[in-house]
């Protein structure tokens, strides 16, 4: 099937990168997570409950709702932290992108490893700006807040198109569709990768590195 790709762009100040990325990623994952499945006899299953909590941003005039799952939050923070560090210290001109990809696993026969077939990819392009004074920072706080509001509305719009979603799996297949490793919620299988565009615009090295890492990780 074709993979659905959505691209969002934001311009933020350095210290806003983490919060902006978390806001967007958490909003996406809120929509792409369900409660834990409990399979019962005869192929039926019951679904756990997903709680939500509001998060206020410190550097942006913005609040977002995320899934109440510390594990999920930690995983996202780790990925976003790496992205932020790469963005700030790579010596690039502050342009990078982070991708959240939802995929399904397709079991292959030995010796081939399982295939990962993405069905939805969200790419967030980030442009880091440098601000000269406090007044500009204050304006940036508000502006980025407003921009994020727009992004959330965009995300919700895409989500509510009710386009392709993997079929609800049987018990044996659930790990091919969902990430069952978390104890309180169950997001669709996802992976996060990032690319930093250096001034030459080349980012092949980074991408290759991540691809290889991900493949090996499977």
């Amino acid at each position: 099937m074709n993979c659905r790709a959505e691209v969002l762009e934001v311009s933020v100040e350095g210290r806003q990168i983490e919060e902006a990325m978390l806001a967007v990623l958490h909003t996406i994952l809120l929509h792409r997570s369900t409660g834990k499945f409990h399979y019962k006899k005869e192929g039926t299953y019951s679904i756990g409950t997903v709680g939500t909590q509001d998060v206020d941003c410190d550097f942006i005039d913005f609040t977002y709702a995320r899934v109440s799952s510390e594990e999920l939050d930690r995983a996202l923070r780790k990925a976003v932290g790496e992205f932020k560090d790469a963005l700030r210290y790579s010596g690039s001109d502050g342009i990078g992108q982070i991708s959240l990809e939802f995929y399904q696993k397709k079991k292959s026969r030995w010796p081939f490893s399982d295939e990962c077939i993405p069905w939805e990819v969200w790419t967030i392009k980030v442009n880091v700006v440098n601000l000269a004074n406090e007044q500009e920072r204050q304006i940036c706080r508000e502006k980025v807040g407003e921009k994020l509001c727009e992004k959330i509305i965009n995300i919700v719009e895409v989500m509510n198109r009710h386009e392709y979603l993997p079929k609800m799996p049987t018990q044996s297949e659930v790990d091919n569709v969902f990430d069952t490793g978390l104890k309180d919620v169950q997001p669709y299988l996802y992976k996060i990768s990032y690319q930093i565009t250096d001034s030459l615009g080349s980012s092949v090295t980074t991408t290759m590195r991540r691809l290889i890492k991900d493949t090996l990780a499977l």
């Binding site: 834990k36 939500t52 609040t63 959330i152 919700v156 509510n160």
Partner: protein
């Protein structure tokens, strides 16, 4: 139709829709409580968590929602609406958002009720959770407290968006197709909230006697419907009366003013531009009023104009003055028709901001034009009015000037003061300010002394400064004068702020040399003195020549 739907599915679907409606209301209201919401995920399903989401049920909210639904479900033409409004501690309120849960006729027969519809409703609730944090009212609701609170009202039936004023925006949260129709959840919200700084509220002084405990962060099961600002005319759109509603560019087109003809003028003029026919009659009077107004500022100006018009000053001036007086004293006479037609709907949206600007600018033109064309249109009507007014008025220009400076009805004004002599206020030309002579039907409210004003006819409707008054009493809701509140200017620290400065110096008095009264005299004097002056200049001709040479 539901022939395709078996009874179990139908029952399930009805249940899903009912609980979806209840949960929607909970999410919306909880998002406006002013605090962060946190619920826990649970891996073990509990029977009470509809749509697999942990959404608490606040009993009062559920009660209100059930009361509004009264056993019905959203259907075509019957939407469930949650109205979120803001109410200040002075009692003024304004609608911020309307969340609508609607059903249309587009059915999706193929869809599985118990599975797909359920999951999609769950997804829609998650979207609602996200969107409720993103509309402008969220940030306002997080800051609610002493100065204002956020209230909600649930109603069922037709969606009423008029309270949001013009230029509101809509965001669609999502849709879910069902065999009975497509459920749509959307929100219409006032956008110029984005420009409102909640600093507005911080500036208003605490009002004694306010029941603070009302404004604890509890949702208000509003048994009474939320009303639009009560100091506006009936039929008027909501919104702009709220001073902070306007974007920082000020000027709400709300202008209902029983105030000085300056305001009257512009109200009518605006009406002219905004509306139709009923106002036409008034526009003919505009010139007259314009003349009257200009007379207020300087008595000589008036007579100057008529000269330009080719009308004898004696003829024109007098009537005009009275007309001006008329306006002031009986503003309704002129304004009423305009009012019906088109009291500028207040507007409150940024669109209004621009509209107001446009109106203000536009207003200048007719005024100017009026000055030069007054003669023609004014003839019959004006003279009529004039004669009417002359009966009611006493002669001196000053008295008329006085009445012209009728009190402004300010929104959110603390104390309605019936009679205020402008002289007591610290404004220029205070000596010319009128006492309230007769204001029969008016229920005037005056701006607090810290915001003197009144002089800029070009302002149209203005905001009241430091608005903190109550607008309750104003029966004459038509024209509430609000003070000019220029962007980025503070009015609580310096006595002379940008707005005041602007107002004071916007209409400087006419140069005395241009005034006819004095001018008439001085002209004669000038003429007489000409020969002398010429003689002097002739004496100094050599100096002049030398000077000219240095320039070359």
């Amino acid at each position: 139709m539901d022939t395709d739907l078996n009874s179990q599915d139908r029952k399930d679907l009805d249940k899903f829709i009912k609980f979806f409606a209840l949960k929607t209301v909970q999410v919306i209201v909880q998002a406006r409580l002013g605090e962060k919401i946190c619920t826990r995920s649970s891996s073990s399903p509990t029977g009470s968590d509809w749509f697999n989401l942990a959404i608490k049920d606040i009993p009062e909210v559920t009660h209100e929602a059930k009361k509004a639904l009264a056993g019905q479900l959203p259907a075509v033409g019957r939407s469930m609406c949650v109205e979120i409004s803001l109410k200040t501690s002075e009692g003024d309120s304004m609608e911020l958002e309307i969340w609508c849960l609607e059903m249309n006729e587009k059915c999706d027969k193929e869809i599985k009720v118990s599975y797909t519809v359920y999951n999609r409703l769950s997804l829609l609730l998650k979207s609602l959770l996200a969107i409720t944090r993103v509309t402008p009212a969220y940030r306002l609701s997080r800051k609610q407290g002493h100065e204002y609170v956020i209230l909600y009202r649930i109603y069922f039936g037709e969606v009423q968006l008029s309270g949001l004023g013009e230029g509101f925006q809509t965001v669609r949260v999502g849709t879910v197709g069902t065999p009975l129709g497509t459920i749509t959840l959307s929100c219409a919200y006032r956008i110029n909230l984005a420009f409102i700084s909640t600093r507005q509220f911080e500036r208003t002084p605490p009002i004694m006697g306010i029941i603070i405990d009302h404004f604890v962060d509890r949702p208000y099961p509003s048994s009474s419907p939320m009303h639009p600002c009560n100091y506006r005319t009936s039929g008027e759109d909501n919104g702009a009366a709220y001073p902070s509603v306007e974007d920082s560019q000020e000027v709400c087109t709300t202008s209902f003013s029983t105030s000085p003809p300056s305001q009257c003028v512009f109200t009518v003029t605006k009406a002219h531009f905004q509306t139709p026919p009923p106002v036409l009659m008034d526009t003919l009077k505009v010139p007259m009023m314009g003349l009257a107004f200009s007379h207020q500022l300087s008595s000589s100006r008036l007579s100057y104009q008529p000269a330009a018009l080719g009308v004898g000053s004696a003829d024109m001036g007098y009537p005009v003055i009275f007309a001006g007086g008329l306006n002031a004293a009986h503003p309704h006479q002129l304004i009423v028709p305009g009012k019906e037609g088109g009291v500028p709907p207040v507007p409150s949206q940024p669109a209004h901001g621009t509209q107001a600007d446009h109106e203000r600018m536009v207003m200048c033109t007719p005024l100017d034009g009026a000055l030069y064309s007054a003669a023609t249109p004014s003839s019959s009507e004006d003279t009529e009015t004039v004669s009417n007014s002359s009966e009611g008025k006493s002669g001196s220009p000053h008295d008329l000037l006085e009445t012209i400076f009728v009190r402004k009805v300010g929104a959110f004004v603390n104390k309605p003061i019936n009679q205020v002599t402008m002289a007591s206020l610290d404004i220029p030309f205070a000596m010319f300010a009128p006492k309230n002579v007769e204001l029969e039907d008016n229920d005037p409210m005056v701006n607090p002394p810290d915001s003197p004003d009144v002089e800029s006819p070009l302002q149209g409707s203005l905001h009241s400064e430091g608005s903190s008054g109550s607008s309750t009493g104003n029966t004459h809701d038509d024209f509430v004068m609000v003070d000019f509140k220029p962007a980025f200017s503070k009015d609580d620290i310096l006595p002379m702020d940008l707005g005041t400065f602007y107002r004071e110096f916007q209409n400087p008095p006419q140069l005395s040399s241009l005034s006819i009264d004095i001018g008439a005299q001085s002209m004669a004097e000038d003429l007489d003195s000409l020969p002398e002056k010429l003689a002097v200049h002739e004496k100094n001709v050599k100096e002049f020549d030398a000077f000219v040479e240095t320039l070359q």
